[in-house]
């Protein structure tokens, strides 16, 4: 067993310029993930900022042989989960959302998921973002990492610090929630696939 983080000796000093280089190279991509998870640019900016501040404080634990963005994703997703918990959205396992693996998930609670807000049919990206927001946060995270970021389940399990079994369950249930939402709210667009078939 080996930690994801390097275990440097006390005498090892991080290179401050290196952190800035990593930050410059990664912040757009990290912002993209934050935006998909929060659905709001102001929330995404706050989340990214908090994640880099935390990363900066713990930079001595970063192992440069591993991708910096993966490390950032891990920090960012943890902060995001903490934020959601603090907002009091975590509910005791309900029949609807508790998984077979016994994990706890949130109710669909994002105010931004209301489709009458700004989205018109035809704006696919906005509709998809609403679909993402209609998922429980932990399901959304797994689906975003798999589909938007193109990660394998093993990588997602590492970023989300959970088992592959939990990742599988989150992706399965997350996509189901999203499809149900899109087919209900945007039937023209999201049911046409079904109609094409005999």
């Amino acid at each position: 067993m080996q930690s994801l983080f390097a275990n440097p000796t006390q005498t090892q000093r991080p290179d401050p310029a290196a952190f800035e280089r990593y930050m410059r190279d990664s912040h757009r991509q990290v912002y993209g993930l934050a935006m998909r998870l929060t659905g709001q640019s102001s929330d995404a900016e706050d989340l990214v900022q908090e994640a880099y501040i935390r990363a900066f404080r713990f930079f001595f634990r970063y192992d440069p042989s591993l991708p910096f963005t993966s490390w950032m994703y891990r920090i960012l997703t943890n902060i995001h989960i903490d934020h959601n918990r603090r907002k009091g959205r975590v509910k005791a396992s309900s029949l609807d959302h508790a998984g077979s693996d016994g994990e706890t998930a949130w109710e669909v609670a994002d105010e931004s998921s209301s489709p009458d807000k700004l989205v018109m049919e035809g704006e696919l990206d906005d509709a998809l973002q609403l679909g993402l927001m209609a998922m429980c946060p932990e399901f959304r995270m797994a689906v975003v990492l798999a589909d938007v970021e193109g990660m394998a389940y093993e990588e997602i399990a590492d970023v989300m610090q959970t088992s592959i079994g939990t990742v599988r369950s989150r992706i399965h249930r997350g996509r189901k929630q999203m499809r149900r939402y899109l087919e209900r709210e945007f039937p023209e667009r999201f049911r046409e696939v079904a109609r094409e078939l005999p």
């Binding site: 930050m23 410059r24 589909d147």
Partner: protein, 147 residues
């Protein structure tokens, strides 16, 4: 393979996260079952739409705001120390002497970290080992060779 099994695995089929024999069983089933073929098509459609989402761009000011915030943090963080009364007294005495000394001397002070300066990690070193970067979530060790 029945329809129930197919639907339970369709997400992982689309993600190519099934074993070889499971993948083949899935293929065979949706060749014979139009309902599951439709289910598969919708799942694939969703995945490919998500994959083709435009990457959101941060605002023009975001980069400088981010760098400023992280640099400011570098200046603020104080080393974590264990409070010891005798030490506090000693530090106070030394500080008092330093003030007197300072009044007698003209000390050239370095201004606060300029915007272009690299981030100063010195103050952060003392927090090593006192917290983990994941906000209280236990650091989980994972097998080597990842991610």
């Amino acid at each position: 393979m029945n329809c129930r099994n197919f639907k339970a695995k369709v997400a992982h089929y689309v993600d190519q996260e099934l074993s070889g024999s499971e993948m083949i069983a899935m293929q065979h089933h949706c060749r014979d079952c139009s309902e599951c073929a439709c289910e598969l098509k919708r799942e694939q459609e969703l995945k490919s739409m998500l994959a083709s989402l435009q990457a959101p761009q941060p605002s023009a000011e975001f980069e400088s705001k981010l760098f400023d915030a992280v640099r400011a943090q570098g200046n603020q963080v104080q080393p974590v120390r264990i409070w010891r009364p005798w030490r506090t007294a000693a530090v106070a005495a030394i500080a008092g002497a330093a003030i007197v000394f300072g009044a007698l001397q003209t000390i050239d002070r370095k201004p606060a970290l300029a915007q272009s300066d690299p981030i100063d990690f010195s103050a952060d070193q003392a927090v090593q080992g006192t917290q983990d970067p994941f906000g209280g979530t236990p650091v989980v060790t994972v097998s080597s060779g990842q991610p």
